[in-house]
Symmetry: D2
Subunit: 336 residues, 4 copies
């Protein structure tokens, strides 16, 4: 029996991220591997494999006409964390092709980062070192006048997808009351998860911690505009963790710079940020350069989950680890 054809086209993921030696060995045991790195696979290479390919690992464009030419295709494993618009999700679903993303594998690292950022903002850990080095530190309670804590805090999650599900357990031992606004989830589902469904208005005005975890869709781009941002409870700690496009970014940074709320920003509308972008000068914001998710252990998780689910699919079993595309939703997502 011929081994199944597995096609790797993971750019911008590189070999170190998704194809280390152990991964290569395992994939070679499971199938015949054709791999292309460094760019999206050229058309002729895709044309070559379509008639036989059973598994695609990567972000190869798969519109209907390509799916039509791939009769043996059983799984498309997107090793990025978001849904690209280059797949015909409905058609793939109709053909019983599993379309998966690696979002759950990046979520733990992002959740950890979010906890770090939240504690820094609330407890003043982003400024304590500078104050000490300047000799302008104050000790104990005198230095803690504006400090607050996650313990027992009201916390809001805007969006309860992979990131929210990874973050909630980290907040649990702090005894937080966790509110969620997610228009894709029903109130009783959230309550069964031990979360409190709230309106967007409530989410902005009540809690002391707000984690912005929603993806960008064709419907929500920039929906957190200036007037909404101005309703945020003063002095709250706001962590922008998923996609910069969900907020009106200049307003968000400006309000944070004015001290209207505390903010941590890891994602930007354009990356890299231009050298002379004034955003770099805005005071008070805690910046980082899209560092929350992309650490080595996240790629190890991707490799493990990917191998697991390739194995399941080739056995005719449902995938277990990566996230399945919801045809009704994946098409709405806006990727870069």
């Amino acid at each position: 029996m011929t081994k199944p054809l597995i096609f790797l086209d993971p750019h911008p993921r590189n070999e170190m991220m998704v194809y280390d030696q152990a991964t290569e060995d395992t994939l070679n045991q499971m199938g015949r591997v054709v791999a292309h790195f460094g760019s999206r696979a050229p058309d002729h290479l895709v044309d070559d494999i379509l008639s036989e390919v059973e598994i695609i690992i990567g972000q190869t464009a798969m519109p209907k006409e390509r799916l039509d030419r791939a009769p043996r295709l059983r799984g498309i494993l997107n090793v990025k964390a978001n849904w690209e618009p280059n797949i015909d999700y409905a058609e793939a679903h109709a053909r019983g092709i599993h379309v998966l993303s690696a979002a759950p594998c990046m979520a733990p690292a992002v959740a950890e980062y979010c906890v770090g950022q939240a504690i820094m903002l609330a407890r003043g850990l982003h400024t304590s070192d500078g104050l000490f080095r300047d000799g302008s530190e104050a000790y104990g309670i005198a230095g803690n006048e504006t400090a607050y804590s996650l313990y027992g805090a009201d916390v809001a999650l805007l969006g309860y997808g992979n990131l929210g599900r990874a973050l909630a357990p980290l907040l649990q031992p702090f005894g937080c009351r966790i509110m969620v606004h997610d228009p894709w989830l029903s109130d009783s589902y959230l309550r069964n998860e031990g979360l409190e469904p709230v309106s967007l208005e409530h989410l902005l005005t009540r809690p002391k911690f707000i984690f912005l975890l929603a993806g960008v869709t064709s419907e929500n781009e920039g929906f957190l505009n200036r007037s909404k941002l101005e309703t945020i409870r003063p002095d709250s700690s706001v962590i922008l963790a998923s996609r910069a496009e969900i907020v009106s970014f200049p307003d968000f940074v400006e309000l944070a710079g004015e001290g209207r709320f505390r903010a941590a920003v890891d994602v930007f509308p354009q990356e890299p940020v231009a050298p002379d972008d004034p955003v770099r000068m805005t005071p008070k914001v805690l910046y980082s350069a899209h560092l929350a998710g992309g650490i080595r252990p996240s790629y190890a998780r991707i490799r493990e989950a990917m191998l697991d689910d390739v194995g399941q699919i080739l056995k005719g079993l449902p995938p277990l680890r990566m996230q399945r595309a919801e045809p009704s939703l994946a098409g709405k997502m806006r990727s870069r």
Copy 2:
């Protein structure tokens, strides 16, 4: 029936910390309150209350000759987090006087701070903002070359008292393997708590995260000397959270400044640190000015626990919330 005499002598705690209006009202319901703030109560004031006092809240020196003159005394509630050497612990115990400290009330805030510090050091959150503002940031995995994570990490606690017991649950959802070295606790006790007892050597050389949480005793001052510190696993994140005196401080800071390990330092041998202390210039260390414990919610916890335990003691019941002095150990502790 005369109401019991309650004596408040909480300096350096002030009224805002331990005697807000609600606390004052509750104590006045339970007894006749004599309070002194701003300094340790003068001798004549102590002399006045000894014969009748039933509860002392504060750090009044209580050597045997004063205990001898306080026949009705039932509880001494130290509202600081450590044991001072100014009490005859054995004599108080023999008289059935409950001697308590507020250490458990400060521990959650310290544990939260420790988690923040650990994530900062491991994930580079103490430097990301500066790099971004300098325009020298790298994005994603390129900026994460030296990043590591708490998830699944080997973590060590030096000392498993109030701080360790508050910290362990915060680490639990990260799936850490938690090692403890504490010469006052038996191995099987630690194993029953789900912790791994390890030698000091093992604690320094193996884990990627080390939390220094031990108190200072007459026996352990400076015991983490340069040669021991040099065995720490390279690039580990070391959080000095309890008392600076357990390490050879100049060596600790020097090694951290050389990048031998990553370090967060919240406590110092002398506080405030002298303006020209060279420690302020040491690079790489993440400093803060003894800010980990002393936030408002910690004082709210102290007030609540103190009222609870005064109530219990006055009813002839055991205290529940504050920590009880172990006569065999309290006398060994070194306070400032």
Copy 3:
């Protein structure tokens, strides 16, 4: 706009189970409801609704030719806990119709029952009352010679689906080591869930508690035959909770009756069991009459989950609460 047509055909579920007043009211708000109770809906009624129906709640047979006539159908919510062979799962999937079952709603009640049965068998609670009433009781350790405990026990789950996922959290505070054998799940998936994947041989021979939780498929009927059952660790507690057909039932009961292992049996090959079935006389087995899942709170969960998911589907959103059919697996299940 016309309200969507919702068709109820839930037999053998009756109105009390799935259509109480509150449910009726909510469904009527969401759509036009056509309901049939007391038998499977007759063909002419189904024929009447097919062209317009958007949601089917119940077990209506839906082969391809009916799906072809139901162009607006978006969801089939089977309110039983298993997959019937009367749906063309692949075709429904290809059409983007959500096919759901209520299995997750019954699982908590079954898991609770399993815990009760396991403690009874291990601790002798199924015999203690009779011994006491006979006057042949022994007190304390003398009466506990054969007792054992869930604390720290090796526990095995045969099958880790809805029942396993409901049972595992109930075992967690006992500190059990939980082994799983489930050929549909990968080892690394199970390890990530904190479970230990084991072979069937290991599952039978090692642990002291075995929970039989697998569904019946065309492949596994009767696979726990006499020779396999004879390898069970002597004196283990074996709980038969899902489907009697996975074991060779006469052998299972006979071996349990001989004291080869302890057994609780809630499910039978034929229900009701014949009045003169010799199984009724077999000593030692702890019997119950398929009582584990079907309690009132289970039906309340079904009603809530069903309303939730009807709401999601009608909004074009993914269902959240009920279980989705895996086309590759649902077709293998054997229902009665």
Copy 4:
């Protein structure tokens, strides 16, 4: 240096329970052991060891005059689960002697038993087997008309000591709302434990599950009299787990026999119960012969905890595993 003298006088505990070979070996490493089994040690033997004994393991009577003759005594480790009135607790405390009991070691087994009993009563598992054997079983919901569940239930604990602390975590995954009435504990302490402090009236009239876990003191004997028992919410499941003396036993059994509430009874005013005691004939009650705590793993826990704490005490460190006598409370306890 002479090894410390350790005296064993554990009757009614026997060698199998507290002095297996491994325990004997460890104790012999730590000290010189003098042991007496089969009865309380005779006076002359006690007289012989008093002047040198450092550790007593057992229930030796230790009034003041004996304590006066035991100047080196540092610990009394009662290997039963209750406080006997034969020790001068205040005097022992004043001398700095650790007085401990094994109650925490028996609690897990009792808690497990309680969960089993509660599920049996609520789900009908105490009658299902008999009904099936009689051929009078009903299947599924028809057989579950009076069944209810622990999931989401209101549960009450009368007394929150060792048993309550062991039981609460087992109830946690069922999502129970746990109410506690315990006059020795403050409301805010209970709230901090995640429990709801309630009055005795509330405890009897509201919840569906009542666990009677209180010890007997000179103050509470028989305090749950007929008029109080008659206020119990009809059809509740009441588990009598600690001491029969806290209820008016004949009334309790009579009311349960009449079906006023469901009841499980493991403890009796006199044990063994007389052969002709009419209590044996009372219908409906689920009886067991004081089997909840005394299983082998409980004794293993006692041995481990005892060795741990002997080791701590001999090192001058506080004990960690066994329960410390509260002088103000231990004297109130009524043992048999």
